[in-house]
Amino acid sequence: MNGASASVGRILGDPKVRAGLVLLVFLTGLAISHPVLRDTVWAEEGLLYHPETGHDSELVHPSGWSAQHWLGTDPLGRDVFSTLTFSLRPALVVAVLAAAAVGVLSLLAGSMAAYFRGLLDQTITSLADALTLLPPAIALLVVGLDRPAFGVVDAGLLFGVSYGLGPATLVVRSRARSLMVKPFIDCSRVAGSGARRIISFDLIPHLLPYAGVQMMAAGIGALTTVAFIQYLGATDAARMSLGSMIYTAIDVQPVLPPGFGTFNLGDYSARIAWNAIASAGLAMTLIAVAFYLIATGTRDAVVPETRSR
């Protein structure tokens, strides 16, 4: 019986994990739908549905949903469904990359520190202690603010590495150390398992749920921080992302048609682009919920006593 594949099977069978995966697949599907629609349905309309420069000159913006604009338009007249699907891809890339980096790094560093102890453990722990003192969001803001060349892949990796080798490693290592004194590790050793086998088949499957919770935290944290950088950089409204969608919806004054009269608060507050705010806000929350479901479901599957009774 292979321990690792058995626990993977149990994890994939958990209803929460399944729901989370379905949600993630749905969001990915939305992201993929953008290039598909761009090349088919929207292709005939020219630039009307362009996520960054599109503008429908026949409507007063922001407008609510209609057959032509499924989620309405934002204050600058861009189609919200198009900007949303366009912006989901970078958002998912950041969140998934950060989570993956945290998973790989914390599992490797944490289990190796607990298994080999000694100098390796001290080195890993000291580095982790130091990185814990540097919140990854701050590292990201310092490096990424006002720097367009710093892309989503860089951002996800930077966040993932600084969080993964920092706080996440500390959590996984302390858990791995308490596993190392359990009898099943000794059994495995007596049966002739080497370091690699014990780490990959005896330690890591048990550490997955703890790493999973850290991965969730990193994914959500990276998503929020990057969205904030985009939100702040959004004075350049042409760069589209979930963060700048919210910026445009909240802070950009609507483009008024000729003869609409002078601008005043009453007209303004009646025309807040709730469709754009809700779409972008909901997309971010759904990504977070998907991560949460997968992480807690994994924990329930591997550590059954945490399942709510």
Partner: protein, 405 residues
Amino acid sequence: VSIFLAVTRENRHSFWSFVIKRLSASLIALWLLSTVVFFLIEVLIPYDHPAAEGTTTGRYLAYMGGLITGDLGRSYTGEPVIDVIIRALPTTLLIFGTGGILAYLLGSWLGRLSAWSLGKLGRGLSSTAALALYTMFPPLLVFLLAHFGREPLVAGREAVGLPVDSLQVFRRVPYSETDLVNFGGLALLVTLVIALLLRAMARRMGWRMVGSFAVPASLAGLVLAIVHVGIGDLALDVFFLRSANEVEIGAGSPVLVVIAFLLLAFGEVMFIWQAGMVDERTEDYVLTARAKAVPEREVRDHHAAPNAWLPVLARSFSSLPILLTGLIIIEYQVQIGSCALAEGASCVYWSGGLSTMLFTAVRDVDVPLILGVLITMGVLIAILRLVAEIAHAILDPRIRLGDRR
């Protein structure tokens, strides 16, 4: 305190050696942090080094030498970095302190309640609500608070005859916004600490009523007091009224920062408490207490909660970095556009806290200030961690003695 004394008396050697060990680990971590940050910035942020300062190694050694004596160099404005930081520190500490304590109180109460008394559906709903708040994009949260909080507030003020024009309000304000933050925050922090002590004392003496009302009553008292003096009213104005008259959305006040931080952070605390309490529910001692007809609330708060507290403490600190992220974003978000109305009015710019300072420094590529703020944040987190670890060691002897095994 009595537990602390007992522990130190009975186990003096192991306790102090634990403290010294953790303290030196923190110092090493701080040194490593400043090294990592120094070289990270050196590589990633291109800027013109003044020619006189020599090679990278030379600058590094000089910087480290300065760090030991508390000298963080000079900001590009010419002011010593340490002075700039000391000016911003009280605001950050007060906001984080009060917001953190309030979030902890609310979160732990809701977490205990939902784990203990609600069914699966109720727990699911409360978790969803907390998750939605916890993962909400901070600028959006601030916007929603402002948007929906503004009208009721203006209407309420009109009803009692207070001025609703922010210029009028600011003309009669003799304080700067920074003073408001610092006085208001300090008052709130002191009240909370007194209330918590009162509650602990009341529990010890068995005055249950006093115990359960200590915190809410003190907070209500504080609110009444500041409204009476007129400061609380002003603090609310600083945000809500300004945005009522200006289209500027996102202008803000410290009060809003605390509220937004509270909303963002309590969900996390609630999750942690919920998980801790659910684990305790089926323990034998809970059954024993119930069999002895101990009231359910007492079982929850006095039997199960203390046992859940240790894992809660351990998990709280791993979520600290994420909570800090929220705080940093919120503080800056609220600060953007703050005091757009300053000309002519007696409103003085709210200088903001460390995070505002960090953003400004990054935008101005003021490298000494960036380094200074990063290291200050590192020191703050190190102190928090050290305090939590020592508390943990006092409560759980396995940690103190663990490494001797």
